[in-house]
């Protein structure tokens, strides 16, 4: 019989906390409690994380790039493959777990966060990932997503946002733009979309980031930070669906326009956009609103300095509101990363405390006492 080894000895051989870059106190790591590969073990390869299943996305789908990035990144975690689980919902994106040689579950539409919550809470030795789409996470699964975020269960949610329902062949989604013509909106959508980052921040998320399928380096960096964060990390990944919503993110992928539009959020740095010779800085206007002004004229103004670790999510929220359908300015990177006790740690601590206070795991006698209750009588 294989026992679940949650013993102290087993847990000792796990990752500890990570020091925040700004020298702040050490934060508990999202990987703490998960057994590590032996120090002398051979370095894992991308191939080891690749399953034998044929990948079945359409040619050119952004999901390929994300898969390749994740397969290459997983060896960096230094975890044993058996201690990694991917749970997904339904959608093109949710086929993801089949292609990784880890434990995985392809579940039902929108519900992956709940399944992952059950697994992460009962198995602290598992590194749990959720893969979901904009429809899966924000439409049918919206309720589970916001509750996972507020609970702060230790897991990483990768939200592939292609602003369309891919698997069902091209209906508009909760992130599709007003006016978008799709199969179910031939005259254009009249539905107001969600901004996933704003939504996550409003739902008390402790880690919120955005990246894109095509920027491997940025994506990998975000994956690393998300995995190390203890709590629910939400990563929105802009993903192109060449079949039903091709070019949705072209404005920020096009090299000639990219620089003028992408706002790279760097912790502790002023928020800026644009090429060297046309740099703009984000400042807080007298009315409280944020506006980009030429870098030179920002002197003396109330410059917005990014602070992902701020307790108050207001500024991160304000940054998420820089988004517009025209994609004039699109923030990328980590909007928020704060430490807050996680739900799963709390739940386990209560069970552990109850067991410890009672003098250790329940014996047959303890069970017998429970069954008898307080009020028994004997018939001879």
């Amino acid at each position: 019989m294989t026992a679940i080894d949650n013993s102290r000895d087993a847990l000792n051989a796990t990752a500890g906390g990570v020091a925040a870059s700004n020298g702040a106190p050490t934060r508990p790591s999202g990987l703490a409690g998960i057994p590590l590969l032996a120090p002398d073990a051979a370095k894992q390869t991308k191939k080891e994380f690749t399953s034998d299943q044929e990948v079945r996305w359409c040619p050119g789908c952004g999901d390929y790039a994300i898969l390749a990035a994740v397969q290459s990144f997983l060896p960096e975690l230094g975890l044993k493959r058996e201690n990694i689980t991917f749970v997904s919902g339904i959608g093109c994106s949710s086929r993801f777990p089949y292609y990784l040689d880890t434990y995985g579950m392809h579940s039902i539409h929108g519900r992956a966060p709940s399944i992952a919550t059950g697994l992460a809470t009962s198995r602290p030795d598992q590194n749990v990932w959720v893969v979901t789409g904009d429809g899966d996470a924000l439409s049918i699964g919206g309720n589970h997503l916001i509750h996972a975020l507020r609970r702060n269960v230790n897991m990483t949610i990768l939200l592939f946002n292609n602003e369309i329902y891919g698997l069902t062949k091209g209906q508009y989604s909760p992130t599709s733009r007003v006016g978008q013509v799709t199969k179910s909106t031939p005259m254009g959508s009249v539905d107001q979309p969600f901004n996933p980052v704003s939504l996550a921040l409003g739902a008390e998320a402790t880690f919120v980031a955005r990246t894109t399928d095509t920027d491997r380096k940025h994506l990998t960096g975000i994956l690393q930070a998300a995995a190390e964060h203890r709590g629910t990390s939400l990563v929105e990944i802009y993903q192109n669906c060449p079949i039903f919503n091709d070019g949705a993110f072209d404005l920020i992928k096009d090299r000639t326009q990219q620089e003028a539009r992408l706002v790279h959020l760097l912790d502790g740095e002023p928020v800026q956009v644009g090429p060297e010779d046309d740099r703009k800085t984000l400042v807080r206007m007298p009315g409280g609103g944020l506006e980009f002004v030429p870098a030179a004229s920002a002197e003396g103004a109330d410059v917005v300095v990014h602070d992902a670790g701020a307790d108050d999510p207001s500024q991160a929220f304000a940054l998420s509101r820089l988004d517009s359908p025209e994609m004039t300015h699109v923030p990328m990177g980590i909007f928020r990363s704060v430490s807050r006790p996680t739900y799963d740690d709390g739940v386990r601590a209560q069970v552990e405390a109850a067991v410890t206070t009672a003098g250790g795991p329940a014996t047959d006698d303890d069970l017998a006492a429970l069954l008898r209750g307080r009020d028994t009588w004997t018939v001879a």
Binding site: M1, Q126, P361, L370, W377
Partner: protein, 622 residues
């Protein structure tokens, strides 16, 4: 010593009825505990409104608690009360129709004011207009005597003093039926330990009630009900919900696995969530989810991780969980779904009982989606049924439905507490090794390679090296578990899943009780109707007739001999608290023309009514 006479009785049915705020459930609970301590066999029926505080003094606000206790085996909470305690006019009006002529009615006359009478439409006071002529009425100014008895309690308001009137009533009834009050005193000490004055007041009211019985001439005698003859053992009184929670805990203990409950509150299932939440000490993890879907998702995720995943709910919650139950069928993972049935459809009757989710449990999912179903038959049986559900779920890697209902959930009876040493071992093995080879002869793990005997697939939990695998709700290829859209494979997998559930072993044959051996009519019930059916059958037999009876506990799969049993009687009558759901299954499966007898009044069958139904069938066959 009391100077009054003591009469011996063999059985009594008492109903406490009052306003929701009068504490009738507590009074009933305490009287039950005192009665259990006396060694009587008993059965209880709480009946309360869905609203927490329905308007005071109105019919919808009436809450009652009925208790049947005897010196012999008790099968039901009793059809008709021998004693009704009516704390206000609404309680009298709501319950009078159930009280047989000649019965005793204790009335709190203080509450029978003009206004209160008018509120429920009594033009005259029934206490003195002759309405109650054929009853044995004890008018007692319960409220004012209680307040008087508490005159010395300066720190309490009149309202607070009035609130102790239920303890006065309990004291009076305890005297009438010679129940010991020590247990109640200890209970009060615990409950009001932090409020010494309120504790003292309640104890004083209890004592005052007792003394009132002993000293007032209105009560000429008290009664004694000898202990019932029960098999030797250690007993406690237990409700269905508590028994069910304990059954799950015991099963997890015997399986040496953690138990994880994902649940969303709903009447009448919430008490199981409450009970398990208080049992963390037994390595029980409970999570209150954002909705019922997340509740079962949490349970399924935990099962995937090697725990016993449990979700508890009632009918409306099952409706939401359907898709996830289908996923569990497809993934072939253990999962326990507890459905404490209540009146439906929709919100229906949240606090009343019904057996109308049988077909939902059986078929309420898309696709061919077989799920084993177990239905406990008494409150105490909820323990064994829960234990059995875990055995089947873990051994066969399947979701299992546990169909309790509101009557079992809140009703209680004495339970012979089992010895832990006698509980079966439920340990199952997780997969730990590859179980096949690939084309190149390398060892591989096949998540859907089945055990030839049980057809169960391996339970390979994350954390096991070398067994990394992916499972999902898309059809899987036999053996390898890879995605497969192959027509023959789907046909095969569908039949395998069905065969696995149909072939569950260890389900006992249906036992038929036919004392005379020549019965032509079989009464077949399932779930919580066992008590009323047994009582009715007993009455019919005592009247000199032959009738056979049997009770189903396993509804999927059925016991192997069920068809044979059905065919050996000229007539099979199936009483159920729905419009004939089991009858439909039996007719479809066995082509036997079973006769449904149905009722959906939110209440258990009355023994007298059922006995009449049986007699009518016997008559027709003459």
């Amino acid at each position: 010593m009391s100077s009054k006479t003591v009469q011996k009785l063999d059985r009594v049915v008492i109903r406490f009825a009052g306003d929701s705020g009068d504490g009738m459930q507590l009074t009933g609970d305490r009287f039950t505990s005192e009665t259990a301590a006396m060694g009587n066999d008993l059965s209880t029926l709480p009946n309360f409104p869905a609203e927490i505080r329905a308007p005071q003094g109105t019919l919808p606000g009436v809450s009652s608690f009925q208790l049947h206790f005897a010196d012999h085996e008790v099968l039901t909470p009793g059809d008709a009360p021998d004693v009704l305690v009516a704390m206000n006019p609404a309680a009298l009006m709501a319950n009078l129709a159930d009280v047989p002529r000649g019965a005793t009615i204790i009335i709190n006359t203080d509450e029978f004011t003009k206004r209160a009478l008018a509120k429920v439409g009594y033009a005259e006071n029934p206490v003195d207009d002759g309405t109650l002529e054929s009853f044995h009425v004890h008018p007692v100014p319960l409220t004012s005597i209680t307040v008087e008895a508490l005159a010395a309690f300066d720190g309490l308001t009149r309202k607070e003093k009035e609130r102790a009137k239920n303890m006065f009533a309990l004291g009076l009834l305890s005297w009438m039926y010679t129940r010991p009050t020590a247990g109640t005193e200890a209970f009060l000490a615990k409950k009001f330990g932090a409020h010494p004055e309120i504790l003292e007041a309640n104890l004083t009211a209890l004592k005052a009630g007792w003394n009132y019985g002993e000293t007032t001439e209105d009560f000429a005698s008290s009664y004694e009900i000898a202990p019932a003859v029960m098999p030797p053992g250690t007993y406690r009184n237990i409700t269905g919900n508590t028994a069910l929670a304990h059954g799950l805990v015991a099963a997890a203990h015997q399986a040496k696995l953690p138990l994880v409950l994902g649940s969303y509150p709903i009447t009448p299932a919430s008490d199981i969530l409450h009970a398990l939440s208080a049992l963390k000490r037994h390595n029980i993890t409970t999570m209150q989810a954002e909705d019922e879907i997340a509740g079962i998702g949490i349970a399924l995720g935990a099962s995937f991780g090697g725990a016993i995943g449990v979700t508890t709910t009632s009918g409306p919650g099952v409706a939401l969980k359907s898709e996830m139950i289908g996923l569990a069928v497809s993934l072939e993972l253990p999962l326990i779904i507890v459905d404490v049935q209540r009146g439906g459809p929709s919100t229906g009757l949240p606090t009343k009982t019904e057996q109308s989710d049988l077909l939902q449990a059986m078929f309420g999912r898309n696709g061919e989606s077989p799920v084993p179903i177990i239905a406990p038959s008494t409150p105490a049986d909820c323990f064994d049924a829960a234990f059995e559900a875990v055995r089947i779920a873990t051994a066969y890697r399947t979701p299992v439905f546990l169909l309790s209902d509101g009557y079992l959930a809140n009703g209680s009876e004495p339970w012979a507490v089992p010895e832990v040493a006698d509980l079966p071992d439920l340990q199952v093995e997780f997969a730990s090794e590859p179980n096949g080879v690939d084309d190149k002869g390398e060892p591989v793990f096949h998540p859907f390679l089945r055990d030839p005997e049980t057809l169960a697939r391996p339970w390979a939990i994350p954390g096991t090296p070398g067994l990394e695998h992916r499972i999902g709700g898309i059809e899987k290829a036999d053996v390898t578990g890879n995605i497969s859209y192959d027509p023959d494979n789907h046909d095969k997998m569908t039949r395998l899943r069905a065969a696995k559930v149909a072939g569950i072993a260890g389900i006992p044959d249906l036992a038929v009780e036919d004392p005379s051996g020549d019965a032509r009519v079989l009464i077949l019930g399932w779930g919580s109707t066992q008590g009323p059916i047994a009582a009715a059958v007993r009455a019919v037999r005592n009247a000199g007739h032959s009738v056979a009876s049997a009770h189903l506990r396993n509804l999927n799969p059925f016991p192997a001999n069920l068809g044979e049993v059905l065919r050996s009687y000229d007539r099979v009558v199936v009483p159920e608290m729905n419009l004939g759901q089991l009858s439909m299954l039996l007719r479809a499966e066995f082509l036997v023309d079973v006769r449904p007898h149905t009722s959906v009044r939110g209440l258990p069958f009355s023994t007298v009514d059922l006995a009449d139904v049986i007699l009518t069938h016997l008559e027709e066959l003459k």
